[in-house]
């Protein structure tokens, strides 16, 4: 019988200023960025950065809630592979992210409609 792993799955809510420090902390703990996504809900953005551990299967999600006008720093200097996630947030949701390492300038998906996910239907 295989051993079933019941890993720790938590969502940590942090202030936007603490993002880079926390990301650095997770990276130094040997975790990999599993996903990053945005939600537009009730006039605010909720950004989730999930980190996974490949041996313990632990799953930690960093959550920041910001106003649409807030500019947040890119984490691509710490985790280069976040490039595609951040470009996606920027293009589909209109999240203001500065200093993305490879900024597609809203040309990743090349859609005609501007920030389609930013309105509630």
């Amino acid at each position: 019988m295989a051993e079933v792993i019941h890993p720790l799955e938590v969502i940590e809510e942090i202030p936007a200023e603490g993002l880079l420090g926390k990301v650095m902390e997770k990276k130094n703990a040997g975790m990999r960025l599993s996903q990053a996504c945005a939600v537009y809900n009730e006039g605010k953005y909720e950004l989730s950065y999930s980190f996974a551990d490949d041996t313990t299967y632990e799953y930690v999600t960093l959550r920041i809630v910001i106003d649409p006008e807030t500019v947040i720093p890119s984490i691509t200097d710490i985790v280069p592979q976040a490039v595609f996630y951040e470009n996606e947030m920027k293009e589909l949701f209109g999240v203001k992210i500065e200093m993305i390492r490879l900024d597609y300038q809203n040309k990743l998906y090349r859609i005609e409609k501007e920030t389609p996910f930013k309105e509630e239907g």
Partner: protein, 360 residues
Amino acid sequence: MKKRSIIPFGPQHPVLPEPIHIDLVIEDETVVEAIPSVGFIHRGLEKLVEKRDFNQMAYVAERICGICSFQHGMGYCEAVEHIFGVEVPDRAKYLRTIWAELGRMHSHLLWLGLLADGFGYENLFYQCWRVREKVLDLQELTSGGRLIFSVNKVGGVIRDIPADQQRTILSTLDEVEQELYAIRDTFFEDYSVLSRLKGVGIITKEQAHDLGCAGPFARASGISTDMRKLGYAAYGDLDFEPITSNDGDSFARCYCRMQEVFQSIDLLRQAISKMPQDNELAVAVKGNPDGECFMRVEQPRGEAVYYVKANGKPNLVRMRVRTPTFANLPGLCEMLKNTQLADVGLLVLTIDPCVSCTER
């Protein structure tokens, strides 16, 4: 200073069944940098949550990708079930496992065929696809659909696999296994196959970890991670170990996927022998979901993350799918550096790109 030029690769390319575009910066024949651009298949189906309720979204989720369609439906349903806090009946868990493993077999055989086509071994391509048709026949027998089953719903499954169909699965698996031995020997021993795959496109364990690679791509570089170990569906009752290799080259990726086909055959036999005999296939789900959940499942191409957020209304606030190819794109760009231009087509294939998953 060598002369630099940019070569566009795709979207229409003979080795790719799907459109993906990569700008290759080359110096003479060597690739220096690769910049992918996506969007040819972007549909924006995550936005459909506003028009379809959470039950209907299970069918939309299945159509994210036609190759791993069952697993997309399953991942979405498991996430919503987790929010509801309902436990799926045991038999439904086993049925999901059986369909998921059949899907993995057909996906890996499809990839092995395309790989053979990629290095110009037409005969091997046809052999892989011929065997794959037997798996598709099993899927059609048990679910009614060759690729898209629509057997999942929130709370369980809608179809049973009766005893006579289980026997057909077992006998067909015996045939498939026998035929696969010959195919495996060709992939593992043939001189011309090895000369194209060995030592090409190496990703080390450290690189794979730093770039966040998933699935067989990461396992081929020695990272022993497999989301089935989380025990969703009936995987907690089955005995298996992730298949890994330490070489990190194209051959290692071929090795891992080939062995996973045999692993799937083994898992199917285990699941059928352990399947409980109750009649309940689904539990009733009342009301609307409220809450959020991250659900991870192991697809043929690797770890997929389903994020579902609901606020007590029939329509979800957000459904987000992070598909394995999306996570493997940075690894692909790194792998293409310092390779020969002639190898690019084959190397793109070795991550098993699924573009319609990536762009959704």
